[in-house]
């Protein structure tokens, strides 16, 4: 268990450990024969530099704290995947924390991360109030928010153009001939507000009546969507398409529709938002709006790196473009 230190290989090489450190870090003031001899020796002895000691003196841990509401959520885990890959390729490691389900835990893990001396924090907010919740800490270390729009807050974030996403989705339904489109989902976070706005904008432009069916449940889950949709479908179906504010909701709607024998897509067209993996599964094939998760994650770590390495001050709001993914749940009307 006792690992070999600089001192050990220095002794073996017959030089001071400062020399070994310099040889490894490629300092130009070390002779090339000495360097090679030392490097070879390090290899043989299985030396790996102790990052905690290194971090101590460098005042830099090369660690990025990644906090997500819960990593088992498809959307988050995809973001995490790309974030980790990208971070590592730039020499950073990821410290993972689940912040859900309550605000207290979110605060706790962020504080924890600070104690760990992470160089920066990447956070996908668990609620619209996250910014307030962790503001005190976000000022102490480079932080970028991921996937949730903060709109007017003085904080860096990267997110899709949620409004545009809903806009193109609605327009697509229109082009398919639909004139009665229901917007399904909550609206109390900025993200969801924006989506609703995109829908409304499309409706205005196209001369459509705006119709909402929303709730203020906290998490957008399949089950929530399902429960809600059962309510919805027990009333008259005076619309031909639904724009669901999240894929999870859409999936719930789909389940309810199947149970109540409402034919998707023939009687009802359905479109979601996010393009989570399940939407591409056989039999589901949900038409949806894609969030470019890879790009989002990569941009977020780039932004964070910029703050960390260049000390960039201020904040930037990076908005990426969503894409319409046509699959099987939308049909031309008539």
């Amino acid at each position: 268990m006792k690992s070999v230190t600089l001192k050990d290989v220095a002794k073996a090489a017959g030089v001071s450990y400062a020399t070994v450190s310099r040889a490894l870090s490629g300092s130009p003031q070390i002779g090339s024969e000495t360097r090679e001899r030392i490097i070879k020796l390090c290899d043989e002895m299985g030396y790996t530099t102790n990052y905690v000691a290194r971090s101590m003196v460098m005042k830099k841990t090369d660690l990025i704290g990644l906090v997500v509401p819960s990593i088992d959520n498809q959307f988050n885990s995809e973001l995490a995947y790309y974030a980790e890959m990208s971070a590592r390729s730039h020499g950073y490691n990821i410290m993972l924390c689940n912040s859900g389900p309550d605000m207290k835990q979110e605060k706790t893990v962020v504080k924890l991360l600070l104690g760990r001396q992470v160089d920066g924090i990447l956070i996908v907010p668990q609620s619209p109030k996250t910014y307030e919740n962790i503001r005190a800490y976000a000022d102490q270390v480079p932080t970028v928010f991921l996937s949730e729009n903060l709109r007017d807050q003085p904080q860096s974030y990267v997110a899709v153009d949620n409004s545009r996403g809903a806009y193109i989705g609605t327009k697509y339904l229109y082009e398919l001939g639909h004139r009665d489109i229901l917007y399904f989902g909550r609206r109390h976070s900025t993200t969801h507000q924006l989506r609703a706005e995109g829908y409304m904008k499309a409706c205005q432009e196209l001369g459509l009546r705006q119709r909402f069916f929303n709730s203020e449940f906290s998490h957008s889950s399949i089950n929530n969507g399902y429960q809600l949709a059962r309510d919805l479908f027990s009333k008259s179906l005076d619309y031909t398409a639904i724009f669901a504010s999240t894929d999870s909701n859409a999936l719930g709607i789909m389940k309810a529709a199947d149970e109540m024998h409402i034919d998707i897509p023939n009687r009802l067209s359905l479109i979601g938002f996010d393009n989570i993996t399940a939407t591409g599964m056989p039999r589901i094939e949900l038409t949806t709006i894609e969030q470019p998760k890879r790009e989002m994650a990569v941009q977020a770590v780039d932004m964070l790196r910029d703050k960390i390495e260049n000390g960039t001050q201020g904040y930037v709001h990076q908005i990426l473009l969503p894409t319409l993914i046509k699959r099987g749940t939308c049909r031309p009307l008539g």
Copy 2:
């Protein structure tokens, strides 16, 4: 950005920083008024103990390295979720690394983790060869393998009873009246070998003919399953049920079947293995064998903690029980 140190609050409190340290750690040799005064002061000044300095002297980082082939995989991300929650509740933080897709990267990240001085490593192997691949490192730090059976290897791991899972799945099909059951999937990792063995055992006991359709593709994905199933279905359908060695494969099979108008479950019953989230989605409703992911993750970190904290030597093979999840893809025959 400059954080407040022990020294700072010591100066403010008018005591030495050793006293502050002791007050915080609850040492009995500090007077209670002093302690309370110090704690209050720490709060006000926003002091958080620097974990890297602490780790340095304690020779313990309270860090667990979690390496998974790719966190965006449902199965892995669920394990990761529970592992992180459990680890954190015991004072550990998780350092996340994706090891996929190649063996080289797996080795690299494990080496990295060692450099980070993690107290232990939790690894879900990316291939049957993982053990060989990282053995050199696994000897240097407490390590437990997750979800993959290592069978005779002298290493701790926790996994389901894969054999039993396949056994009960096959038996279930038998009880439904099926007599011609095809086993679909690869067999070259221990895990998959065990599943195949469970199937064979059931066949023997029940007097069924054993039928295999397998391949040696490296990753069990929906697409692989799909491609293979298209092949399979182009030949005669002289079986009434398929036991797929993974849910991913089963999903691929389902897709191919739908395309080729083979009615699941009426013409063909299908059962998977793993119970990944997608299987419970509307329209899919795949009958499957559940791996108790939460329990697996929790047990794995318990095991790891035991090694770390008590220095427990030797190894233990923890086998958990799988459960049959009855959903919609299996029908009684006749």
